[in-house]
């Protein structure tokens, strides 16, 4: 890949919680148009990486997005820069309707016709959300909430989507559906940084992957390479 294709460069990222370091100098990059996945066990530090990139936790090291240093930018400005974060647990506002959740995500956008077009697109991808526009977010099932969370990320018109465990708590059928849609969104031009415990599916759709163990990247390669790696098969893919 050439330097101009690079969207996100993370180097030497360290994050600490109450004095205990959770990430010890993580470096990786994401190029335009890729799906990159970070896999690893619970507590390996995957979510911390996403939280640092989107400005939710302070960190040491550098996060550069399209040549722009994101350090010291507040989280709401990072959204404006073009990064949307679908947090762990989805972060749906249960007291807002589905429509309001989607509208809120377009907070910074002024072009009303483009917002309306994206809203239509989200409803095309997730027809269930269209039926439930007036329902409160808290009334949705887990799968519908995940769809809403991804829909919100699309409403912000970000180029890079950070997805934190989109498969969590969903039935296998729904997980497949969500992953299919992630691939589809990617084909339409969104770049995806995907954090997953479900390494099997993540490696299937990702072009490249990084393996995280106790706050360090221990392996990296293409999705296919890692899926064939014996160590990965044993540790993450159930042998």
């Amino acid at each position: 890949m050439t330097a101009s294709d690079l969207l996100l460069t993370v180097s030497g990222l360290c994050v600490s919680y109450e004095g205990i370091e959770a990430l010890h100098g993580v470096s990786f990059e994401v190029a335009k148009g890729e799906i990159v996945t970070l896999i690893g066990a619970n507590g390996a530090g995957k979510s911390s990486i996403l939280r640092a990139v989107s400005g939710l936790v302070p960190y040491a090291g550098a996060v550069v997005y399209t040549g722009k240093d994101l350090k010291n930018l507040p989280a709401d400005r990072i959204v404006a820069a073009g990064i949307a974060h679908v947090p762990e647990g989805r972060g749906i506002f249960g007291n807002l309707t589905v429509g309001e959740n989607l509208k809120l995500a377009a907070w910074q956008r002024r072009d009303k016709s483009a917002v309306a077009r994206d809203l239509d697109r989200v409803f095309d991808l997730f027809p269930r959300l269209r039926e439930r526009t007036k329902q409160l977010g808290g009334m949705l099932s887990g799968g519908e909430q995940q769809m809403l969370a991804v829909g919100r990320a699309l409403m912000s018109d970000a180029e890079l989507l950070l997805l934190d465990e989109p498969s969590m708590g969903l039935s296998p059928v729904l997980v497949r559906e969500i992953f299919k849609i992630i691939s589809e969104i990617n084909r339409e031009g969104k770049t995806v940084l995907l954090v997953e415990q479900n390494a099997h599916l993540a490696l299937q759709i990702a072009r490249r992957a990084y393996v995280l163990e106790t706050g360090r990247i221990v392996l990296s390669g293409t999705g296919r390479e890692l899926a064939g790696n014996p160590r990965i098969r044993e540790a993450y893919l159930g042998g």
Partner: protein, 291 residues
């Protein structure tokens, strides 16, 4: 019957002032889960702004009201930035003690400037209409109509605008809101501005209805409005309005049928009884604890 209507009108007047103040408590609680115990004193500052503008600048009613609201709103935003924002992640009790301290500061600062009670000049010519045996003063009508108007505007802002949507989102989970591209600090400032501005409006209306003001006037009224907010369901905007009108009605009715010294005793006993029946308030719902 005429007596009843007369008292109903009085209850609406008092209740609408309580409701306006209660809104400030409930809005701040809704987004920060913090009780701004300085709010009653901001109401008092509103009354003193009214005095300053009316007596020294000889302004008429409308500019006095608007400038007092603006002044109190600015003061509320400044207080939040200087005193509460640094404590946002501190234990809840630190913020509450700070708020009590801010309240004491406002009382004593005002006391230092104005040791004697002040008299508010009549800003409007008061006309009294007599309908049957009921006498209606234009001032009373004005207080009720203006308060209801402000509450309708607020209700619209909270439920129908983007800013209101952001406020409601913050009350649900403020850690997620920045990921929507919303600046939480700006929305908190806006909430303080609106909440304290309404308190300032209440200060002006109160001092027109009861025209002697002093630096301690906000304490008792503030406590009562806080209780209204709790009875309505703290954090719930419509609940605060309902709570305000309930307390207004109870106080007026008690004073109408019992010796007036019983008023607060009976009123608070009834409200405590209501809280035993509905511990989260009339419109409040128990919030699931977030892990």
């Amino acid at each position: 019957m005429a007596y009843f209507f007369q008292q109903l009108l009085n209850a609406l007047q008092l209740g609408s002032i309580y409701a306006l103040i209660a809104l400030g408590y409930t809005m701040v609680y809704g987004i920060l889960t913090m009780i701004n115990f300085a709010h009653g004193d901001l109401f008092m500052v509103g009354a003193f702004f009214c005095f300053l503008l009316a007596v020294y600048l000889k302004l008429s009613f409308v500019p006095t009201l608007l400038l007092s609201m603006l002044g109190v709103a600015c003061l509320g935003v400044i207080i939040e930035r200087l005193a509460y924002k640094p404590l946002r992640t501190a234990p809840r009790v630190s913020a509450i003690i700070t708020a009590l301290g801010v309240g004491l500061f406002l009382e004593n600062f005002t006391l230092a400037l104005s040791p004697y009670p002040k008299h508010i000049p009549p800003l409007l010519t008061n006309v009294t209409w007599t309908v049957g045996a009921v006498s209606i003063s234009s001032l009373q009508v004005l207080v009720i109509v203006l308060s209801l108007g402000l509450m309708l505007i607020l209700d619209f802002v909270v439920w129908r605008t983007k800013a209101g949507m952001a406020m409601r989102a913050i009350s649900w989970d403020k850690t997620i809101v920045p990921l929507m591209g919303v600046s939480v600090n700006k929305i908190i400032s806006l909430t303080f501005a609106i909440g304290t501005g309404l308190g300032g409006a209440a200060g002006v209306l109160y001092s027109l209805a009861y025209p002697v003001i002093d630096p301690y006037m906000g304490i008792m009224v503030g406590w009562k409005a806080f209780i209204c907010a709790v009875v309505g369901g703290i954090g719930n905007v419509r609940g605060a309005m309902i709570g305000g009108f309930i307390l207004g009605a109870v106080e007026i009715l008690v004073a109408a049928f019992f010796p007036s010294t019983y008023r607060d005793f009976v009123a608070f006993t009834l409200l405590l009884g209501l809280l035993i029946l509905r511990p989260y308030g009339i419109l409040g719902r128990p919030q699931p604890q977030k892990v």
